[in-house]
């Protein structure tokens, strides 16, 4: 029973970080294990933001040597960036294991991402012009404070509070998922995918990589595959209702769009609020009320419903 939320401001930037935190905190009871954000700031020409993690919960079992392990992995990433003549404009670490790089002078972001992930234990959480993907264990307030998200300004974002059911409580199984290697695409999902292994093998045969055993990752890979083949976001969402089995409601965000899809049974909830300048959606109305306390009209999207909004 995970919680998902998303919002998009039309044609303007707003305090998306604190708004998403308020929404996700209201959904804490749907999933207290981990919280994740995919928020979209103002893109800067030629600049790429890369967020990555270099350690997981299981690495802590290594005792004091984990610090050296982390330092070695970061050094390896820096070395690869230097090899590819990438300019590192800034490098911050919100926690010892989670880093944010601002890069420029990149020829091929996909190839660079693949090369960086060759380092054992390094996972790129997101790559793009506007996307910043943050996920960690704990509720929304904990993660938001840890990563300084309260001041984040942007146009749109999606988020997730996770109740682990079919894979571990760790960062790699937390949502959102970046649609590797497609810049600026992220996915959050509530539900279970029952043909996960069949679809995963299909995707693997087409050359896509999976970093976890979480069924939701499939939606990110699936979307990335479709977008890379020229399918529009709306068509990809519609196609997924036919091709993916199970119960699901999921949200996809791109650089300037936000989309949703609901399965044929409409088994997983979503409440939707639409106005001229703001669209907000969440698993429960209580999350929307966290940012819009006034009386508003909301609806439940029906089965097989697909919607896409432009920022």
């Amino acid at each position: 029973m995970c919680g998902i939320a998303g919002l998009i401001h039309k044609g303007k930037s707003a305090n998306v970080g604190s708004e998403m935190t308020a929404m996700l905190q209201a959904l804490k009871h749907r999933g207290p294990d981990s919280t994740g954000y995919a928020v979209y700031g103002e893109p800067k020409e030629g600049e790429f933001i890369m967020r990555l993690k270099v350690a997981e919960a299981e690495d802590r079992a290594r005792g004091h040597s984990v610090h050296k392990l982390i330092a070695d992995r970061i050094a390896s990433v820096d070395e690869i960036l230097a090899e590819h003549d990438v300019t590192v404009k800034s490098k911050d670490a919100a926690t010892e294991y989670a880093l944010r790089y601002v890069l420029s002078d990149i020829d091929d972001t996909g190839k660079l991402a693949e090369r960086i992930e060759e380092t054992d234990g390094v996972e790129i959480l997101s790559f793009g012009n506007g996307l910043e993907l943050i996920k960690d264990l704990g509720d929304a307030t904990v993660v938001s404070n840890q990563y300084g998200l309260n001041e984040f300004k942007g146009t749109h974002g999606i988020g997730h509070t996770r109740m682990a059911t079919e894979s571990d409580v760790d960062i790699k199984s937390a949502h959102p998922y970046w649609a590797f290697p497609y810049n600026d695409v992220s996915v959050v999902h509530n539900g279970q995918i029952t043909n996960y292994w069949i679809m995963r093998r299909q995707m693997e045969r087409k050359g896509h990589r999976f970093m976890s055993n979480c069924d939701s990752e499939l939606l990110a890979v699936y979307t990335a595959h479709n977008l890379a083949n020229g399918v529009s976001l709306e068509d990809s969402l519609r196609q997924s209702i036919e091709e993916i089995d199970g119960v699901f409601t999921y949200l996809v965000a791109t650089k300037d769009q936000l989309g949703m899809a609901k399965d044929t049974m409409a088994a997983k909830p979503l409440v939707l609020y639409e106005s001229d300048d703001l669209i907000a959606m969440a698993s429960e109305e209580v999350a929307i009320r966290a940012i819009l306390p006034q009386e508003i009209d909301t609806t439940d999207p029906y089965d097989e419903e697909v919607r896409v909004w432009q920022a």
Partner: protein, 289 residues
């Protein structure tokens, strides 16, 4: 209930009362005994522990900073103090508001509620000015609930009695496992509405989603708009004069009477062709299978 007076009923044991009312002899409890057989008795029925409330005694409760448990406890306290009309303000989508109220009360919720709002109620009249989340009035036994805006999925699930009205549109699986009472939807309803319906009536003034009335055992569904598809064993039936009369009365009562009347409504009932309606013995079934 001919031939049995209220006085006589009071003197009887539960089992004797059941027999006198002409019902099954198995032990049943609760108000449902009366609901099916005598609407007047239902009106007069009160649980022995029900507080004596005065509908003219009204109070307002700002729920903004309160938890659901605090709100529900406070409602019970106010009822014990004799308040018969309670207005909840600023509910802000809280879950489980007003659940388990088993006696007469006018409850007005000014705003929207979350999941499981006014579930398990037996008697109160509830008016909600906003929207309700999933499973509103689940297992409702008696009373009326009127919602001015939209409702989420599983609206009135396993409902047993009373009137549940949503003036807007509702989500999927409306009235799933409905066992009695009336559900009225002013707008549209989603997929699998009336799934495994056992008794009662459902009225949808707008359109119905796919698999309407799937595997329904009994009960009746009336749809004013289009039906995307009927579920397994759900069939359409002739709309009789009695149906029209009942529809007119109910829809007028809640201000949802369509301009063009009720003649265009489609009536959906159980076809009763599924295996569980055959007259085969279990051993014979085994031979067939």
């Amino acid at each position: 209930m001919a031939g049995v007076t209220d006085e006589e009923l009071k003197q009887m044991t539960q089992e004797e009362r059941v027999t006198a009312l002409g019902m099954r002899t198995e032990q049943l409890t609760g108000k449902s005994l009366y609901v099916e057989f005598d609407p007047d008795a239902e009106e007069r029925f009160t649980y022995p522990w029900a507080p004596d409330v005065d509908f003219n005694k009204r109070t307002e409760l700002d729920t903004d900073k309160m938890t659901t448990t605090e709100v529900n406890s406070r409602i019970r306290e106010l009822m014990r103090e004799g308040y018969g009309t309670i207005v909840l303000q600023n509910p802000r989508g809280k879950h489980s508001l007003g659940v388990g109220i088993l006696s007469k009360l006018n409850l007005i919720i000014e705003g929207s509620t979350g999941y499981f709002g006014v579930g398990l109620i037996d008697g109160p009249n509830v008016r909600i000015t906003g929207r309700v989340g999933w499973s509103c009035a689940e297992n409702m036994m008696a009373g009326t609930v009127v919602i001015e805006k939209n409702a989420g999925s599983t609206f009135g699930a396993a409902m047993r009695g009373g009137d549940l009205v949503c003036k807007g549109s509702v989500g999927s699986r409306t009235g799933i496992d409905q066992k009695g009472g009336t559900i009225i939807v002013g707008g549209d309803t989603g997929a699998l509405s009336g799934f495994m319906m056992q008794r009662g009536r459902m009225v949808v003034c707008g359109n119905a989603g796919k698999n309407l009335g799937d595997s329904m055992y009994d009960g009746t569904i009336y749809v004013g708009g289009e039906i995307r598809s009927l579920g397994v064993d759900a069939v359409t039936a002739e709309l009789t004069d009695l149906d029209k009369k009942w529809l007119k009365r109910k829809l007028t009562q809640y201000g949802l009477m369509p301009e063009k009347g009720v003649d265009h409504f489609t009536k959906v009932v159980a076809g009763k062709q599924l295996w569980n309606y055959d007259n085969l013995e279990p051993t014979e079934k085994k031979l067939i299978l």
